[in-house]
Each structure stands twice: as C-alpha cells, then as structure tokens.
Symmetry: D2
Subunit: 254 residues, 4 copies
Amino acid sequence: MSDESADWWATSIVRMAPGVVELRGRPVQDLIGSVDFVSMIWLMVRGSSPSTREAALLEAALVASVDHGPQAPSIAIARMTATCGVGINNAMASGINALGDSHGGAGQQCVEVLTEIVSLEDSGIGIDAAASQVAGRHRYVPGFGHRFHPVDPRRAPLLSLVDSAVADGVVAGRHLMAARAVEKYLARVPMNIDGATAVIYAELGFAPELARGLFVLGRSVGILAHAWEETTQGMRNKGPIPRSILPTYRGEAG
Amino acid sequence: MSDESADWWATSIVRMAPGVVELRGRPVQDLIGSVDFVSMIWLMVRGSSPSTREAALLEAALVASVDHGPQAPSIAIARMTATCGVGINNAMASGINALGDSHGGAGQQCVEVLTEIVSLEDSGIGIDAAASQVAGRHRYVPGFGHRFHPVDPRRAPLLSLVDSAVADGVVAGRHLMAARAVEKYLARVPMNIDGATAVIYAELGFAPELARGLFVLGRSVGILAHAWEETTQGMRNKGPIPRSILPTYRGEAG
Amino acid sequence: MSDESADWWATSIVRMAPGVVELRGRPVQDLIGSVDFVSMIWLMVRGSSPSTREAALLEAALVASVDHGPQAPSIAIARMTATCGVGINNAMASGINALGDSHGGAGQQCVEVLTEIVSLEDSGIGIDAAASQVAGRHRYVPGFGHRFHPVDPRRAPLLSLVDSAVADGVVAGRHLMAARAVEKYLARVPMNIDGATAVIYAELGFAPELARGLFVLGRSVGILAHAWEETTQGMRNKGPIPRSILPTYRGEAG
Amino acid sequence: MSDESADWWATSIVRMAPGVVELRGRPVQDLIGSVDFVSMIWLMVRGSSPSTREAALLEAALVASVDHGPQAPSIAIARMTATCGVGINNAMASGINALGDSHGGAGQQCVEVLTEIVSLEDSGIGIDAAASQVAGRHRYVPGFGHRFHPVDPRRAPLLSLVDSAVADGVVAGRHLMAARAVEKYLARVPMNIDGATAVIYAELGFAPELARGLFVLGRSVGILAHAWEETTQGMRNKGPIPRSILPTYRGEAG
C-alpha cells in the first residue's frame, strides 16, 4: 500500500487508469476532434469550457503574442541554444526560462494593476482617480509604453475585439475601462501588447499569474519557429555576435 | 555601422520597424482576430497557411497531447518547480526541458520510421516487407506500445480523423498505411499517442524534429495547468514523496 | 566596423585574443596549476584573490552545501530529467532551475537579514533589540529552523570555523553575532545550513544574491552525482512514484 | 507503509535521518573543514576519495574551464537571462542548458576517442595506427583544433601537469599518449581545452559522460560571474545586439 504517495500527487486535472485518460472529467477520446485547441487550453487551466466568443478573445491574445523578433532575449536564447547540440525542447525551455518578471511578466503585473483599479472603483472611487492613484505609484506602468514602437500595432486590433465583446455582453468591460483610464492619465503612453492582452485576460477572469502562463504558451510558438529556423541553418555554437567582433575588455591590465 | 550584427540575426520569420510587426510577411494587425491559433502555429513554423482540414488535423494532434498525468516526469517536475519560489515560466521551462529523446522524442523518431518505410516503398519494396525491415531493427519501435495502456485511448479518434482526411484527399495516407503495416508486423503492440500523432505530422509534411516541437506546444498546456494547480495549493519545496517516507540508503555503512 | 556590438558585450571578467585568455587580468596559463578552484571562484566572481583563510571559509560553505538527499526537489528533478533522453547538462540545468526563492534562496535572504541587523547596530541600536526587530517581522526567519532536523548537523562545524576566523582576525564576526542574536531571540530554532553559510558569505563580504549563486555552485555537485547515479541505473522516464501507485483523482466524475 | 516509494528513491550517495546527513557513508560534520571542495566533488561523484595528486589534476581541469568569454553561447545566455527578472539560479540554469553535445560535449566525446585508441592498442595495434584509425573517422576530431586560437593557451599548462603526474606514477599516461598520437596524425591541429581536460578525466578514470558533467561544474563559475556582472549593470531584457541595430529580414515582402 502506498496511499500516502498517491495522495501526494492527487490532482483534479486528470484521471488515469489502464485504457482511460480523462481530462477535467471528460474522456480524451470525446475531446479529440471535438474541442478546438484554445478551448482545450481554457478547459485544462480552469476546469470549465469557454463560450465561443470567450475562446475567440483568448485566441486573439495568443495569436498576438507569438513573436517580437530575435532582439527579444527569449528568442535569441532559443536560437543560440538550438545550435549547441541539444534537443529542440531544450532550446525552447531556455527561451521560456527567460520570460521572467521583466520580459514575460508585464501582462501579469498589468492584470494586477487593472484589478486594483476596478476594486478601488468598487469602493466608490471614480475610475480616473483610481487609475491615477494606482498608475501614479509606478515609474513605468506595466503594460503601457514601448521602447521600440511609438504605437504598438497589436493594440488596436485587440482592443477592437474587446470593444465588440463588451457591446455584445460577452465580458463586462470594466478592466478595459480601467486600462483606458490609465492611458488617459499617462497621456502619450499607449497600451502595448502586454497591456492589451492583460485587458483580455482580466476581462475573461484569469488570475494574474495565468496571464504570464498564457503568454508563455503564445510566445512558445515563435520560440519554436525561431529555434527551428536556426537549426535548419546549421550553425554550431552561435554566440550573440559574429566571431570577428571581439567584446570590449573593461577590466584592468593584467 | 553594424551590418555584420544585423546579418548575424537575419530571419525570414519576422520583420520589425517602429510601429510595424510583420510575421511571415503579414502585418500582425491583419492576423489578430482573423487567423486561428493553430493556423498561426503552422504559419510561423512553416511560412505558409494550412487549409481548414489540414489545420483540423494539426489541432487534433495538439489537443490529444496536452496531458498524461503527474506520473510523467515533465508534469511532476513542473509541479515541483512551481513550489520552489520561481516564476510560472521557470516551472514550465523545467517541465519542457525533460521532453527529451525518450520522453517527448518518440513522435520525432516515429516520423523518421514512417518516412523510411514510405521511402523504401518508393524504391519498389512492398509495404509489409518495408515495415518489417524498418521495425525489425528496433527493440521497441517508437510510437508503438504503451507500458500503461493496453490500448491507448487516443489512438482510435486520431486515426479516424486521418482516415477521413485520406478519404477526402486532404492527405495522401501513405504514412498512415506505413504505421498500420508496423502494427500488423508487431501484432499486439498498437500505436500509442506518439505514433498516432506522428502519422498526422508526417502526413502533413512536418520535419521529424518538428514532431517534437509540436508535441512540446501541446504538452505545455498540461504543464501550465498542473504548475498552476500546484501553485494554488501553496506547498513549499515539494519533493517527489512525502517527507515521512525516507529514501532507502543503498551505500555502505559509514 | 561593429564597435556598438563589441561595447554591448563589454566585460571586466575576461579578455580574449587569438592565443590569449585572460581572466580578471591574469593569463589563464598562470592560473592553471597555481590557483585552487575555490580561490578561482572568488577571483572570477569578485575580481580579487582571497587569503588562504578566507578561501578556507568559502570552501567549507561549498562543501557543506553539496547535497541534502533526493527528497529535495532540485535533486529529484535532476534524477528524473536524466532518465528522459537528454544530456547530463540538461538534467543539471533543470535541478538548478528549481533553486528558487524558497529552495535555494534562503541563504540570500538570510544575508539580507544579518546585514540589516548589523546596519541597525551601526545606528546605535543594541544587537538583541536589532535582532528581535528584524527577525520579528518574519513568520519564518530565513536560515533558521529546519522541518526535518531538530538541529542541522552542518551548523556546528561551520560556526566553529567562523569562530576561529574571528579569533584570528580573518573576519570581523559581526554577522556571526547578529545570527546568534537571532537564535537567542527565536529560542529553540537554531541556524540551519542556509543560516550558517549565510554567516560565512556575509562575513566574507559577498552580496546577498551571490549567496544564492555560491549555493548553486555547491549544490551542483550533488545534482551531478545524483543525475549520474540515476543514469547508470538505466531507468527510462522516471516519474516521482512507481507506476503501480496511481495518483488520487480529486476532480468530479466526468 | 510506503516501502515502494522509499525504494523508488533509493540512493548510495546520501543517508538522511533527523539530525543526520551522511554523504557516501561519511557524516557531513566530518567533511566540513576537513575535505577540500575538489576532493568533495570526487567523493560525491565516484564514492571514493582521491589522492592529493589526483585531486590536483582534477582541480587544474576545473580551473582551466571556468570561462571563455561572452561570445560563448552559454555565457551570453546567462547574461541575457539575468536581465529578464528571474533569479540568478535561473540565469545559470539556462547557460548550463546550452552546454550540449557541440558546446560542452567535446570533452565527453574526446574521452571516448582516447579510450577507443587505448583499447585498440590493447588489442595489439600500434598507437599511431590506432590514432589514425579512430581520428580518421572524424571530420573534426573532438578536443582538437580551435576556431579562435591557433594554439589554445590552456593546452600547455594542463599537459605539463599530466606529464609530471605520469612521471611520478600518479596516472598511467596512456590516454595522454593517445592524445599526442592524434596530434601527430592531425599535424597542425593541436589539442584544445576540451582535449587537454579530456586527457585528465580519462587518465583519472572518469566515465565519458562525467567529462561533460565536470566541465559544467567548472564553467558554472564563469556563468555565475558573468550573470552577476550583468545584474550589477542593471540592464533590462538585454537582447543579443543593441536595439539600434535591426536584424535583416530575409523573407518575402508581405
């Protein structure tokens, strides 16, 4: 008997028996071919099924997040690792490992900011006052402003989808309003990809930490694509800069 | 001037400019809300767009791969790492890092097996002879047999989808026939999830290494769900077994 | 010209030229066979050389940290990963990746605690008052108490070495006194390995974050030993518990 | 009762009980302050203690391996990851994860080459014939030649230590002779760091896979030093090249 070990690994996500795999209480054979991948993500993470419109919002956030080029450390790291004689899963893992608080975590932090604004509003404070109170505590408000894009091209199409979802009663729209109040407070610092997807995740009721987890799922697509492109080019042990460029030495003479 | 560095990081996947993100030549704002996530995966990895039926096959493979419980090392590792005071991306990375040749690589190896059988057939050998020749070289043929399931419950629904796709001319069906010839050769060792998804990836023309990459994308969903469930339970530094069970010491007395 | 890229990767640690490797200003050929490994760690991380006695303290902390058994998630993860068909470096990486804030970070946090106590003392507060003020803010003071050992067997030999070093003027001993003041305040919650090594790191002047980095170097030895032992046993895809023990399902019926 | 789980995690490396930590059968309190770090590495990995001269050879190999600059992917990856808002252990893990077959694995492969040559010699083939037979199968013999250094500056001091050890009967010197026979066969392609340390590891009787594991321990020192230097510089989300340099786009117009 080893009940103790079985309990140690107890889960509500999956039930296994010989010939049986049930995910969130549903036999896997009923899911394959019936449930789309985005709804499957939702089912696994939350234990329930989204409506079609809810899934469409999540889908847009995932599609918008797939890639932002090899200057992002996560992408460059995956490409470099792919040249070092490891499996493509290892290259992906190292890229994902870099999606930390300041690289992949802005969405998570932005969900927290928006949630706090909504909560202040619940306590009777006007939304503009709430937004300035919360945003004013940050030197850089996570999810707003971009050091490369004057306006992030992913902002408008994502917000447009949220606007439609609000109009149709799919989501309540309070986090969207909170985000727009922050934009108003900041004046010329529009939402970036992290802010616009944070609006979606918050409107759909995902916990802040899942905003990062879902971003990882989206960005993993770009990480895979780049690791694979690098693999097909056949370079070995690719460093960050060509070998003909020697890094500057800033220490003292030996 | 730093042309050398720009060339060093050249890519066909993404073009960036201030206010511009183009993925595989398409402006990101045209993709958001228009392209589903599975087709986006295909576009990013291959540079082209799938038909609806092709995307449906890929979607089924991804859905089928999301989870196989906490006895899989990848899932247990992600859960344990999530209790150690790191970000959820780090927990996911460590789980993914374990999807190596023997954990997440069977699909990749199975694509290679099926491709070799098809290629032998092209050279004039009958499919049964080709299957026995290739399969006979393996003690365990990757993608066939399961140490837990007598019959993997994910096999039938996946193959049924491929059968329909063959009937409708979506895919050619030669890798499916190769896989069935291996099953015939092995007698009572049916395809498992890795074999059935390998059929799909091979029929759709993905390179073997991408079979692993796509499996990583699918399994990442389960990895996220489990890491998050563990996080919500609040344990710290979870080991593999309860602390009351001490590992057996097999060394000599000190 | 690519001066910009050379500057982007500037460093004070290493100077490279064809036929030349200088580490912290010293030709590598002068270090090999002359400098011991622990002094090399110090040189690389801090840019200076330790005295023999300083190196001995660091050495003791590293030796004390190498392993605490397979119930520690870092060790179990490395062992499991080593069975999944990846390189031994990948198995080590996943183990190290779990040495986060709550697994490998207690030493870092303890250095911060001790430093704050010393700093309060500098401002004129008595050490007992300072210790109770700082320790009193923590539900669990990092570096003190152990959920497995009533008294951590590594505490006494480490503190004995610090006592000698203080007696001989090698280190000042103020962080040691701060740690003992915390022990006095907590009564029956003695220093653990993280606390005793934190005393050493703090006395030697390492920044808090390096306490974690140095712990990683020490624990990597155990991680390697366990990954290798597991490798030699030949298991494939080792999960956390034997396959005959099925995890309890806690979800609802499907 | 959970005997099954205790057996599942059985080990010869460590024995734990409340108040007790024994490493390879020796109480940890007897090791701290008595055993040097390099001998501790040997003890943990092999279960026995090295002689002073054996430990000195291992020490030289570890010291020689610590760093080869930020153009090595492992170092650049650790530095980039350190700027992404994760713990220093995560940055180190990602660097180590890149020490794969072609980045950190050459020593492992070189031990295999040298062992095969010695084994051919045992079967009666002359060493020069054995070396040309084995080396002749490789386009690039692992451990020989360097794309940056005409002569690797770490080669001479390492081989000089092995020569002395052979002269004093510390090691047999047959792998050293094998490596020199390969150098003779290759003419102007001298041993590099991986080859010279492989000679040491092979002479000391380490398994090939441990050559990589020990290299990881050595290089982790440089990885930590660079991750920390980068951390102290305060950059956020450092990419491989300055933001002013845009990667070349090689795809087709959208």
